[in-house]
Symmetry: C2
Subunit: 340 residues, 2 copies
């Protein structure tokens, strides 16, 4: 089952040294004679010595594991984030434990229990749409477990955050709509609990206000489960279309909602953009192929994963407690196609 089961003791025996000497030599630890250190290192590498991680972990209470908490792996945005996380974790010899909660608070809590049981060294977290109570994270954080939030973050736990420029990205999209002459701009957005919804709404309102257009609350529709539940999207879109003054443009605030809405409008045979325009956050690869090609706001998902992981590893490996935390903001890109 195991390969190359060569341990420190084997080396010690072979070289006629004590375990501890070998251990120290391998870690390049201080007071060890140059010669023995070299000798040990050489023997080790020749025999492909690899420290037993279980033993190390047991001893140091470090697992070199990073726990990842997010809503859905196949979601194209998160899949890309994971890929970014993997790229850094791989290069730094960290292992990834990925959990998905499907936007369920309950599963988020259960996954978290599992992760801590596995004694992860740190956590990369994007909150579920259902999550309001943060005490499960707060508790761990208070106990000193490094956490970095990404995408759907919170201000209530003092740590690093990596987010998209949601306000700016949305602002640009709405301004673009306004400049194209759309007058009644509605939005189908995600759960009001999560940060990205609040920020995207802020960008939406900011743009409208700045251009002297009214903010109409009837034009703001929420999907409590961020588009996981198609019914929620349907209800939202339906009620917009049925209203006295149906919107002439839609801003959809997440990948799933964008695709869902587009699909719905297409099915209803509405002419895009003549009858209704659509611009939305989406990280799907080829919105070019859509009919008509979809104007999107793209996020740097891969980059987000990388950055969050780098920050987390910094926290994990920092000798002294970190007290100043960063909020990294990643730019978005508005790609104008024919749906607006």
């Amino acid at each position: 089952m195991k390969i190359e089961t060569i341990t420190i003791k084997d080396i010690a025996k072979a070289l006629n040294l004590s375990y501890s000497t070998v251990s120290r030599a391998l870690k390049g630890s201080y007071k060890i004679s140059e010669s023995t250190r070299e000798m040990v290192k050489q023997y080790a590498s020749e025999h492909h010595y690899r420290p037993n991680l279980m033993a190390q972990s047991l001893k140091n209470k470090k697992s070199r594991c990073i726990g990842v908490v997010l809503c859905s792996i196949p979601n194209s945005f998160f899949a890309e984030v994971i890929s970014g996380i993997e790229s850094i974790a791989y290069s730094q010899d960290y292992l990834l434990i990925i959990t998905q909660n499907l936007e369920s608070y309950e599963r988020e809590v259960k996954n978290l229990e599992n992760l801590t049981w596995r004694s992860v060294d740190g956590l990369l977290v994007s909150l579920s749409t259902e999550t309001e109570d943060l005490s499960h994270f707060q508790k761990l954080h208070d106990q000193g477990l490094p956490i970095v939030f990404f995408d759907r973050v919170t201000d209530n736990i003092k740590t690093h955050r990596v987010v998209t420029d949601n306000i700016g990205g949305t602002y640009n999209a709405i301004r673009h709509l306004i400049e194209r002459g759309y007058k009644r701009i509605a939005t189908v957005t995600s759960s009001p609990h999560i940060s990205i919804t609040r920020e995207r709404l802020e960008g939406y309102k900011k743009a409208l206000t700045e251009f002297g257009m009214p903010v109409n609350d009837d034009y703001i529709k929420y999907c409590p489960h961020g588009g996981m539940v198609m019914d929620e999207i349907e209800t939202a879109v339906e009620s917009l279309l049925q209203s006295n003054e149906p919107p002439d443009a839609l801003f959809t605030a997440s990948d799933r909602i964008t695709i869902g809405t587009y699909s719905l409008l297409t099915k209803k045979g509405l002419k895009i953009p003549d009858e209704i325009a659509v611009v939305g956050f989406s990280n799907f690869g080829d919105p070019d192929l859509f009919n008509p090609p979809l104007t999107t706001i793209r996020q740097s998902a891969f980059e987000m994963g990388k950055l969050a992981t780098e920050l987390l590893i910094q926290l994990i490996e920092s000798k002294r407690p970190v007290t100043s935390f960063e909020r990294k903001v990643l730019p978005t890109e508005l790609i104008v196609r024919s749906s607006t």
Copy 2:
């Protein structure tokens, strides 16, 4: 850092028992009096006892980790597979280590080294397009490491395999094209090294032959990196279009190739399906939205992940060496839309 650090020794002390008794009681091991067992279990659950996995692993040489080897996490097909894997792993308390190799043989080997160093209990593998030499897997398998191959499999290592019905799926797609009256059916496919390419080609040829149509080797174009490299797709499609008798229908053999080809044809302004029809394997969520809606062959990706993981866990937990292996074949679904 750690939570609830309650160990077996704590329980033993509190209950005035020996470590071993507590250990046995917790495992529901045979000879233990009903009463002490209950007492221990109750105390344990009241105090949220969770065995230390590091210690357990160190002792039993089991890590409850499953290593996953695949080419690309954000690929929609694999992202769904991973989701399926996660669902089973989660429910059985296994941990997932996911690696991606971006179709590079070298990275596949390096990832594998990493995984074995982490002493995973088993491996779920989908081969990279570059992989021809299997000795890195063979070596581990010979040493008794359970492996289940999925999607891109090999016959040369005797173990479970979970695959899509590639032959049947392709056959249906090609038959569909023939029935629609297409005469010159070409295919853009993946690397000739991997099983899915061979099988899909077999289905392609089988259908043509069965319907009395010639198999023209010039109509078969390979993308050695399975569509990771856009240039390869472009070259393939270009040379088909430039040929003396350009095809009137295209069968694209993987998710990336399908999307890439479609994108290319659209950009060139070719009328689909009038000038050229397209049918392809694809697991992207909404090919309905494409222009025109894309006829696809869908695979049960989530199901594949689940099944492979179930088989792997069976292997891992089997008391006696398993000698008879299964080859599970999952059905495909041809969804006809307007591109054919």
